[in-house]
Symmetry: C2
Amino acid sequence: MGRIIAVANQKGGVGKTTTAVNLAASLAAGGGSAGEGGGRRVLLVDFDPQGNASSGVGYSRGKVELSVYDALLGDVAFADVIRPTEVRGLFVAPATADLYAAELELIAEAEREGRLARLLAPIVDRFDYIVIDCPPSLGILTLNALTAADGVVVPMLCEYYSLEGLAALVDTIERVRRVLNPRLAIDGVLFCMYDPRTNLTHQVTEEVRAHLGARVFETVIPRNVRLAEAPSHGKPALLYDASSRGSMSYVQFADEVVRRGAGA
Amino acid sequence: MGRIIAVANQKGGVGKTTTAVNLAASLAAGGGSAGEGGGRRVLLVDFDPQGNASSGVGYSRGKVELSVYDALLGDVAFADVIRPTEVRGLFVAPATADLYAAELELIAEAEREGRLARLLAPIVDRFDYIVIDCPPSLGILTLNALTAADGVVVPMLCEYYSLEGLAALVDTIERVRRVLNPRLAIDGVLFCMYDPRTNLTHQVTEEVRAHLGARVFETVIPRNVRLAEAPSHGKPALLYDASSRGSMSYVQFADEVVRRGAGA
Ligand SMILES: Nc1ncnc2c1ncn2[C@@H]1O[C@H](COP(=O)(O)OP(=O)(O)OP(=O)(O)O)[C@@H](O)[C@H]1O
Ligand SMILES: Nc1ncnc2c1ncn2[C@@H]1O[C@H](COP(=O)(O)OP(=O)(O)OP(=O)(O)O)[C@@H](O)[C@H]1O
Ligand SMILES: [Mg+2]
Ligand SMILES: [Mg+2]
């Protein structure tokens, strides 16, 4: 039974897409403990109309035929939207700008927040993990992702505006758990573009650990230009520069996600 | 007659709020040419439910009584929402999380995109500039800001995902100009967190200048931790650390905005 992970934070530019792409790729490539053999099957769902996660794995705007919009509001099965990527075991359900219309079109629907969960139900057993990249908002697309998910990974920067938004996000996750999806848990906060040299970093990490305790991942992702370069080649860091600090930190992060999930 | 500037980009975390706050503060503090004497009157409108621009000038969540939501959907006049800040000549119309509801509530309204323009019309003459901070989306709030504005400042990072979103934003601005607001112009793209040392920076700036030509500001904003620290003190950089490279680059930027506008 695949575990569904939403990567969400309404604060913009905190590393959601970079985390969704590189976590999904590292999970697919990593064999986990010896007994599991090589690789897992992982699906990356791009649920942001910007389509960054899609282009991050090689499906830029021009290369996408069917997208998540067609499954969400058209009459296409979700399975028909799924495409392979250059990483063995990693598949993607790409997004295009059509998805901008979904926010308006879904509003009139009953049970509009449960749409994605219903679409994923028939295919969740085919994957070990499903990773959903969310847009920078708390609107209907993010609510759909939270309603479909088992856990939420919350990327954030060690900066004030990121900290300010955390309370609103945690409230939203609690509300979704109470009303729409009782199994939803916060897997953890992931510090991205982490710079240990500034006071701000230490002030923010102390404050977050004080509030969220164990729900903070031990792995931190350093600022590393190779992570910002990889998307222009349509590849996850693992394929672009596997020995970079950025790529290695996401491999370590994937291991921690598996370890934590195993204990769940 | 005040000039209305929207600071917009659906890509998250590119420096919209940091630009809106520090541009507004620098415009208010700067006297411009000798003839103008000291200071101008500037209004900062926080149109993002995250409320970051509000807390960036000292109005964090607990300190806000009336917000833009009350004017937009309640029966409060916009003038009653406006508050002074610590910068002489700078005023703010703050936002709270209530604004999240506006996206849904405005949908059923006729001429929903023109709501903000109608609210600002009675007060625009009281200010030299009105600067609007937008959320990271192309939804109803950003469309309202673009419909009310004379010009758009587009902050962006010199990174691939930022570049990818530019075309969608320019298309949206063109659409608003054709259908909703014929005077809307792109004042320019502003490179934020600019790091001259990476190849990526030069690849992206070349590509943007090739497409947008003169609609790129000469001023670039360097990455400077003092800009990220200032919001935790509720102050624009001008009050937090006026001699920092970050603050000085925004003073220079404000001068360029005035110079370009004068030629308009
Ligand atoms: N650890 C890192 N080191 C260096 N650059 C990074 C890192 N993580 C992300 N980036 C870059 O920072 C920018 C923001 O990251 P990203 O787009 O993943 O954030 P996001 O939260 O998905 O943004 P949005 O809110 O727009 O969806 C991108 O240009 C990305 O390439
Ligand atoms: N020039 C700079 N140097 C260093 N840090 C910066 C700079 N500009 C912005 N920042 C920091 O980077 C983060 C993103 O900036 P900001 O919040 O202004 O972007 P935004 O586009 O308004 O984000 P959102 O899409 O969430 O509204 C913030 O933590 C901010 O303090
Ligand atoms: Mg993203
Ligand atoms: Mg902002």
